[in-house]
């Protein structure tokens, strides 16, 4: 018996978009409001999970051809790499730095290395969560 998921899929398309946007927002704004790499990553992951829920694995993988293990690995590498970067500058490991710039369009903007670190965290979280869920689901 075929089960038709039209309603679900239609809504999902919109919802996933909202969630992804929200996830990115959480990740970027984390330094000043609740959020951050973790939560951002988790929310992004849940968007992807929603995709898997409403579609099947094959279909999602076609449109999102990523090896999530490697995504996670890149994330970890990024997160640790920022720490290691401080070694090059001769400051203690994991030294973060930040500065304010007056950018044309955005106005006063804070740029901080924490964001790179957090990006690594977010990537790792997305990668790991999806890897886990995919691994279990692919198991016969």
């Amino acid at each position: 018996m075929k089960i038709n998921d039209v309603i679900l899929r239609t809504v999902t398309r919109i919802v996933v978009f909202i969630i992804l946007t929200f996830g990115v927002y959480l990740f970027l704004s984390g330094h000043n409001t609740p959020g951050g790499g973790f939560i951002g990553g988790l929310v992004l992951a849940s968007a992807i999970v929603l995709l898997y829920l409403s579609n099947d694995i094959e279909k999602v993988q076609k449109s999102l051809p990523l090896d999530f293990k490697l995504v996670a690995a890149s994330g970890v590498l990024l997160a640790t790499g920022t720490g290691l970067g401080s070694l090059l500058f001769g400051v203690p490991f994991m030294s973060q730095t930040f500065a304010y710039f007056d950018l044309p369009v955005f106005g006063k903007t804070e740029l901080t290395t924490v964001t790179i670190f957090e990006a690594g965290v977010a990537l790792a979280v997305v990668g790991v969560v999806v890897t886990i869920i995919l691994s279990i689901s692919e198991d016969e």
Partner: protein, 803 residues
């Protein structure tokens, strides 16, 4: 003096080289090469005899672990000289003998490697001044003895014998180590010389007696004193050269050496006197008594060795009494016991070495050493017979042989001790001559057995696997040399006394001044004294007993084999193994629940127990923040949801209830002003629930658990107990208000880290390291899940691992 250190090192070096040389020169018996080592060393030592005799000592230190005061200090004095000469001298003869004894088919490289290892270790024992280095070599002798006993390790008896020897001697060694450490704590030095020099500080120390006992344990186990002697007969599984060398001439003398060495420290103490001489006497008697019943010649010799070791040991004990008196004209008489001990030490090595070699010859040439199959060999093996008779008669203590001299001195010492007026010897002293005499009678009996049952009487060629013939000349050289010594020492005993024994008396009685006073001149004839009468008595009664052997031998049957020390040892081991299997299986059930119960119980008992015992509990509500109604309701929701999990009938319900818990905690995080936490908790909880659902498609629904109500009650009690302890301690912690937390610092997050979200600033910056590692944790888990699902054991891979 470098050469002494050199003497210890050389055997080790050669031992390491033996396998290579063996591979190079397959044709030549490697023993010839190895024999050069002890001969060289013997000559080297012999060269020093005159100077040592004149009271000179040689010390050399080579740093090993100077920061712990453990240094490779060698010390050559009279006492170590005796042992050194024995080790190298008998060693040379034994190797010569072994060249003929062991065919090139045996794994000779191993044999000689072990033998050299032993030789080096034994030299190390006697030449070391540092207690720890002494211990190192001491254990090495046990190890090499183990390897030699297990030389024919395909035989079960060899392995068991080796194990027994190793266990007993190493255990004793460990006891001795503790004793040494105690000596170090008392004296603050590892050097034996320094300890002896400052012995006065030790005797009052509380650890003096325990130290003494521990050191003696080491000595007694090594020297096969009662009741630790049981390893020695089993050690006879070793090739006969080994038995001759280690288990009669040298290694078992290490314990004697140790006692002699430590006599200046402990001697003079009543306990030392009684334990050393008492154990020696018991061993003397028990060994000789048991030797008589043996039918295997080697076993007989083993018991006789035990007995003789007891004799030497008891002499050392008797001699130690002189130190109680201190140096005086009267006390010198007691030092004669020690002199006799050293004398007999040498004599025993000569005649027992010869006898072992004789037995080895019989075994090797005739294929048996069972006296029931031997007899009348005198005519067929005249040389072997001669050596055997010389050895036996010397051991029996008859004139013309060196055994007579030392035996006489032994009797004299036991008689003399009755005159001592300390240690309640006036009344108890009488037992020494009595036991000595009885034991000597038995000694005489078994010596007669050796002579008459093997060499005289009817020939029984039908019971032998090989034709009767004399041994090859090479094999006879060594025993003949030894028997020459047996006779030679009888005629020129004072040569030995003056050059060898005198300096060692000084080592044992350092406070007694000129050793010449302590060195009597030895005479075979010294008038009709009690000792001579005793010897005559021994011969008469011994001959009678030998005649009547068949009549009284059933006495041995009275000793049930179930109650022998050996049986106790074996029963103890098997009991220990089976009992420990039972015990361990009892608590290592393999059940996770049991393990958890242990942990929880331990937690409740220690943390909870101490908490109440110490009165740390305190509670106060003053700090509490006001409660709102909805908060109470939410707490109620969580409590109900939690409890409902226990009773839920399906896993889905329980999982959903867990979700409720998770969501409710998120709302508490909101109430407690933790926005980041609330967010994270919500997402994590949902994903966790999803994971549960994912996993459920691979798992069966849970069945109703059939658990005995007793288990249920235990579980409930533990659960409530754990909860209670956690709560009560938490309440006390809440009430403990002394310190400001460090987090005020983080409130400057904006200036410090450019973040307005303090929590995020902590996670990303102040404690970014935690976050980094936590990402790693997550990554490992993700990767782990992947591998666990993808990598599966192939069928058939299980067989090994799953037994």
């Amino acid at each position: 003096m470098f050469s002494v250190t050199f003497a210890i090192i050389i055997p080790f070096i050669i031992a390491a080289l033996v396998p290579f040389i063996y591979r190079r020169f397959k044709l030549l018996h490697i023993g010839w090469f190895v024999m050069l080592v002890p001969i060289t060393l013997f000559l080297m030592l012999a060269r020093l005899i005159p100077s040592v005799a004149s009271g000179k000592t040689y010390i050399h230190t080579y740093n090993w672990i100077p920061s712990l005061n453990i240094n490779f200090t060698t010390y050559l004095d009279g006492l170590s000289m005796i042992l050194g000469l024995l080790i190298t001298g008998v060693g040379s003869l034994v190797i010569l003998y072994s060249i003929y004894y062991l065919s090139t088919k045996e794994s000779l490289q191993h044999f000689y490697c072990y033998l050299l290892l032993f030789m080096g270790a034994m030299l190390g024992v006697v030449f070391s001044d540092n207690l720890m280095v002494l211990y190192v070599f001491w254990e090495l002798t046990s190890v090499s003895s183990f390897l030699l006993i297990a030389f024919w390790n395909h035989r079960k008896a060899s392995r068991l014998g080796a194990q027994k020897a190793m266990l007993i001697t190493v255990s004793g060694g460990i006891a001795m180590l503790v004793g040494f450490i105690m000596l170090h704590t008392m004296s603050d030095t590892f050097s034996i010389r320094e300890i002896i020099a400052n012995v006065g500080d030790l005797t009052e120390h509380a650890l003096f007696i325990p130290t003494m006992i521990l050191v003696l344990l080491g000595a007694f186990t090594k020297s096969a004193q009662f009741p630790f002697h049981i390893w020695l007969p089993d050690a006879m599984e070793a090739p006969t050269p080994v038995s001759a060398y280690l288990h009669s001439a040298t290694m078992v003398k290490a314990g004697i050496y140790l006692v002699a060495r430590f006599t200046p420290v402990f001697g003079g103490d009543q306990l030392w006197f009684w334990v050393v001489s008492g154990v020696g006497m018991i061993t003397l008697f028990w060994g000789s008594f048991n030797a008589v019943r043996q039918t295997d010649l080697k076993a007989l010799l083993a018991y006789s060795t035990i007995s003789q070791l007891g004799l030497i040991m008891s002499l050392l004990g008797l001699g130690s009494i002189a130190l109680q008196y201190g140096y005086s004209e009267e006390s010198i008489i007691y030092t004669q016991a020690t002199f006799a001990a050293l004398f007999h030490l040498i004599n025993h090595s000569t005649f027992k070495g010869a006898l072992f070699m004789v037995v080895g010859i019989l075994d090797h040439e005739l294929g048996t050493r069972d006296i029931r199959r031997l007899g009348g060999l005198m005519t067929f093996m005249p040389f072997t017979f001669t050596v055997g008779v010389i050895g036996s008669l010397s051991m029996a203590g008859l004139p013309l042989f060196n055994g007579f001299l030392s035996k006489e001195m032994f009797f004299a010492a036991t008689v003399q001790i009755m005159n001592a007026d300390v240690f309640s010897l006036q009344s108890l002293g009488i037992i020494f001559p009595i036991i000595a005499w009885i034991a000597s009678v038995f000694t005489f009996v078994y010596c007669m057995i050796i002579i008459f049952k093997t060499f005289l009487g009817p020939v029984q060629p039908e019971k032998l696997d090989k034709p009767l013939h004399e041994a090859p000349v090479g094999m006879l050289i060594s025993p003949i040399i030894l028997s020459v010594f047996v006779v030679g020492i009888f005629f020129f005993p004072n040569l030995l006394g003056g050059y060898i024994l005198k300096p060692s008396m000084e080592s044992i009685y350092p406070t007694f001044g000129d050793p010449a006073n302590l060195t009597p001149s030895i005479h075979a004839w010294h008038g009709i004294k009690p000792e001579l009468l005793m010897t005559i008595g021994v011969v008469l009664v011994g001959a009678l007993l030998y005649r009547l052997l068949k009549k009284w031998k059933p006495v041995y049957g009275l000793l049930s084999s179930r109650y022998t020390l050996n049986a106790y040892y074996n029963n103890f081991l098997s009991f220990a193994e089976s009992k420990s299997t039972n015990v361990t299986n009892k608590y290592m059930t393999g059940l996770l629940r049991d393990y958890l119960v242990y942990i929880y119980l331990f937690f409740i008992l220690t943390v909870g127990g101490f908490f109440f015992y110490s009165g740390a509990f305190s509670i106060s509500f003053s700090m509490d923040v006001r409660i709102r109604a909805y908060e109470v309701i939410l707490v109620g929701v969580m409590a109900v949801a939690a409890v409902a999990m226990l009773f839920s009938k399906s896993r889905m319900t329980a999982t959903l209830l867990n979700g409720v818990l998770g969501y409710s905690i998120a709302i508490f995080f909101v109430i407690f002003r933790a926005p980041d936490l609330a967010l994270t908790q919500l997402v994590v909880e949902s994903i966790t629930t999803a994971l549960f659902l994912l996993a459920f498609s691979h798992l069966p629904d849970w069945k109703k658990e059939r658990v005995p109500s007793k288990t249920k009650i235990t579980n409930a009690v533990i659960s409530v107990g754990t909860g209670a302890v956690v709560v009560l301690v938490a309440l006390a912690v809440l009430n403990y208000d002394r310190f400001e937390t460090i987090s005020a610092f983080f409130e400057n997050a904006y200036e410090l880290a450019g973040g307005a979200n303090i929590v995020n600033a902590i996670l990303g910056d102040f404690r970014g390291f935690d976050t980094m590692l936590e990402v790693v944790v997550l990554f490992i888990a993700g990767l782990g899940v992947y591998t666990m699902i993808k990598l599966r054991a192939k069928k058939g891979d299980e067989n090994i691992e799953n037994k």
